[in-house]
Subunit: 480 residues, 2 copies
């Protein structure tokens, strides 16, 4: 048993229990409290430090849960074997403590999921939220319609018509806290678990939701026009999840002919649906954006999904889905299960943000910022040798980079990381046939991205200087 | 074909398409445009009104979807058979338009789901959100940790320990946009669909989530101490969903002996879990609140759930779940599927609300407001004849009222409604054995609430005057 030489700082913002926790953790890590040393009882330590016993209890509970100390029945608390700790902590990346520390890393991360937040319209947001809160607006905190606030659904309806050619009424729109949630909700509208076709490679989160739900997943090859519809027609799929505006991860924009073929597949048999995920269509840098597939349909075969995660911010957790009439009936028969998941305050702020014209201005601003980054990265890559080829450009927040190298994708990722640059390989987005888990990766048609190491290069959250430095480091690391 | 005598008001806040929609809808409802009358083409009407064609398109699309007009291929739009419309609209309660109108109803609704919003701390909320937004706080809009912001989880951890005796670390806490979402998430952590025991009657939304998920649901009788553990032990259940602090709908507080028996059931076999839904334990009017079941457990058998829906407001969509260590591993292996669903801005406001002491003051204030309403309703009911008996009092936001009447529950509800009072019968919360859908309602042990018409009387959202008027009307309608 050891005396603890800890002094608590009651004026510190860090809670007392955490100060105790940190002190003991550090003493154990430093070897000052060695393995199998008995710790003071919670009662004694509480008396010694002049704090409540519950404060010490919490500190000990946290230390136990993280494996630093262990509770031995009828004996007390003992420091654990320190050599075993490293592995535990490698696994436990999601520790609140671990998290905060990891932010200091200065690796340049070409993540395809970031957005730029330096240009977030803080002043407008503050003004709109202040206005909403100033009127003692009780409605703002009352329960919300299960599909979302009618006013916002009307606003989104209008926006989708104007911006994306989506044809619907507000009652077909349902808001949800993120695409994954909406896909979970969508799954529960089908009585059976329908076999679903997905582009291969595809968006991993959507794949995981369907896999977890128990759907048969049928990977469909992708050529330069997108999902290969002949393959879809030959499959037993009843649903197809596609991203025609900007396929993730490949960045392909599906031309109109392929879109019509896709719709034609859906119309051939009752109960077939296309799930159109239109996740980043706001950002197109060349030419006019192509309207959504939903607008070409007769309103019965396309489930349209969109999000404000890219166009406003991921943290407001606001996505929406436009349901065909047939599925709306299923939804309203189950509405008691689906309380609305989006904060009403955020809904009303976004409503005013769009209605008062701020959203349009914000999109124009962000489009020009992202275009500048996009154009810069394209120019930088052109300066590199002929060993690179770029695809999926002119739209969205990432491009696809294929490298002519004898090294594997994994090896190239490691070299880049060593040089301080994080790149994301496309191979992580390939999916397996769930009906035939042992089958080889389906690769009909040879395309660059399935024969050569290929990477998603996201540019939204990086500054021009970081992009320049990142590409320069890649060029050296990869000897381009 | 008819000329439309519509004048648009471009200065009106109502969008133009909606003005057109409303005009035509009203003309059809009034009989001024009769059935089978051809409407002007969208092109002609757009030219006539000097608006864009898309505006007219949207108005027509809405009219079509609501059944007022129909599109005939190669011919145009025609007014529909008006007599058929009533039924359509009765079904379509969730229409944005329908909704706004229904607010004017002055029925006194003793809903058990309302909360009082007159005392919502608007000034504090405004101040906290302003402070958060004023620092151009980029973090506020960046992606959130999948379990929720570490800071808020730490704050909740501390609060739960202090207020409810819940023992956990911040990393065991996961936030989610509502209890239904968290239950969906919880379901996906189990490899198999485990048979689940639920109190009968129980919380309907939870029942629906499990039923939809495909769990075998085993209804367990409830006596005056809550779930009958002998019945649970004799069943094949591996999970038990219980509300020991204040059972919904019956209002029972489970005494410690029964709690220990329940925990004993869970400890007897590996992989058994109790889901403790602690939805309204903040409000207890007599004596000290009983600590949560979770705090009595060794940390391995209880999944604790709580929410800010009752204690702050339902619209902020913030619930939380405390997972035992065994289930945390399942969660972190699937974290890519579960982006956090709660708005980060709301998370940070709630964090500051709790940390700066506002939450405690707000709870004290609301407790005294609700206590006054609770005491008032109890006093009013005492004045009634001996034909009433009250249970589930002294806690939460509703009581249970059992009536000694020859009339059925349904008949009593109808009479009340005629008199302008809405009451909610307990029978809607009884559940069926999913393994044996044809079995009669299980009713082992005769209790008042399963032999006599019984109602949930929620008082939170009503004023004292409304409560008085409502009880008076019930007394007359039910001849008490």
């Amino acid at each position: 048993m050891r005396e603890l030489t800890l002094e608590l700082d009651v004026n510190n913002k860090i809670p007392l229990y955490e100060q105790i926790y940190e002190h003991i953790r550090n003493e154990i890590k430093a070897g000052n409290i060695s393995c199998n040393t008995k710790l003071p009882s919670t009662r004694n330590l509480a008396a010694h430090l002049d704090v409540s016993r519950s404060t010490v209890d919490m500190a000990y509970a946290q230390l136990v849960s993280e494996g630093y100390i262990e509770a031995r029945p009828y004996k007390g608390y003992y420091a654990s074997e320190i050599s075993l700790l490293y592995d535990i902590h490698q696994e436990d990346r999601d520790l609140p403590h671990g998290e905060e520390e990891s932010k200091e890393d200065d690796t340049i991360d070409f993540s395809p999921f970031g957005i730029e937040l330096d240009s977030f319209p803080f002043n407008t947001w503050r003004k709109l939220s202040k206005n909403l809160l100033s009127a003692d607006n009780k409605e703002l905190f009352a329960s919300c319609h299960y599909k979302g606030a009618p006013k916002l659904r009307q606003t989104i309806c209008h926006y989708l018509y104007e911006a994306r050619g989506v044809r619907c009424t507000p009652k077909q729109i349902i808001l949800g806290a993120g695409n994954e949630y909406l896909l979970m909700l969508l799954n529960s509208l089908f009585e059976e678990k329908l076999p679903i076709a997905m582009e291969n490679p595809t968006y991993a989160n959507a794949y995981n939701v369907f896999r977890r739900n128990g759907n048969d997943i049928i990977p469909i090859s992708v050529d330069k026009s997108g999902m290969v519809v002949e393959e879809l027609c030959a499959s037993k799929a009843e649903l197809a999840y596609v991203m025609p505006s900007h396929q993730f991860p490949l960045g392909i924009v599906m031309p109109i002919k392929r879109r019509l073929a896709l719709l034609n597949w859906a119309c051939k048999k009752e109960g077939r649906y296309i799930i159109e995920d239109d996740y980043d269509s706001e950002f197109r840098y060349v030419g006019k954006p192509m309207p959504a597939l939903q607008g070409v349909d007769d309103g019965n075969h396309v489930i349209y999904m969109g999000t404000f995660s890219k166009s406003i911010a991921p943290s407001i957790r606001m996505s929406y889905m436009v349901l065909p009439h047939s599925l709306m009936k299923c939804l309203s028969s189950q509405k008691q299960m689906y309380s609305q998941t989006v904060s009403k305050m955020d809904q009303m702020i976004v409503n005013d943000f769009i209605q008062e014209g701020y959203f349009e201005r914000h999109l124009n601003k962000m489009r020009s910022i992202y275009r500048a980054k996009h154009d810069f990265i394209m120019a930088k890559l052109k300066e590199c040798s002929g060993k690179l080829s770029v695809s999926g450009e002119n739209s969205g927040l990432h491009i696809l980079l294929t490298v002519d190298s004898p090294l594997t994708e994994e090896k190239l990722i490691q070299r880049a990381l060593k040089a301080g640059v994080k790149v994301h390989g496309v191979s992580g987005y390939y999916i397996l046939d769930s009906g035939n888990q042992n089958s080889a990766m389906p690769c009909s048609g040879q395309t660059l991205w399935n024969t050569h190491p290929t990477f998603l290069i996201g540019f939204a959250s990086l500054s021009i200087a970081q992009i320049e430095e990142g590409i320069e480091k890649l060029r050296i690391a990869w000897k381009l």
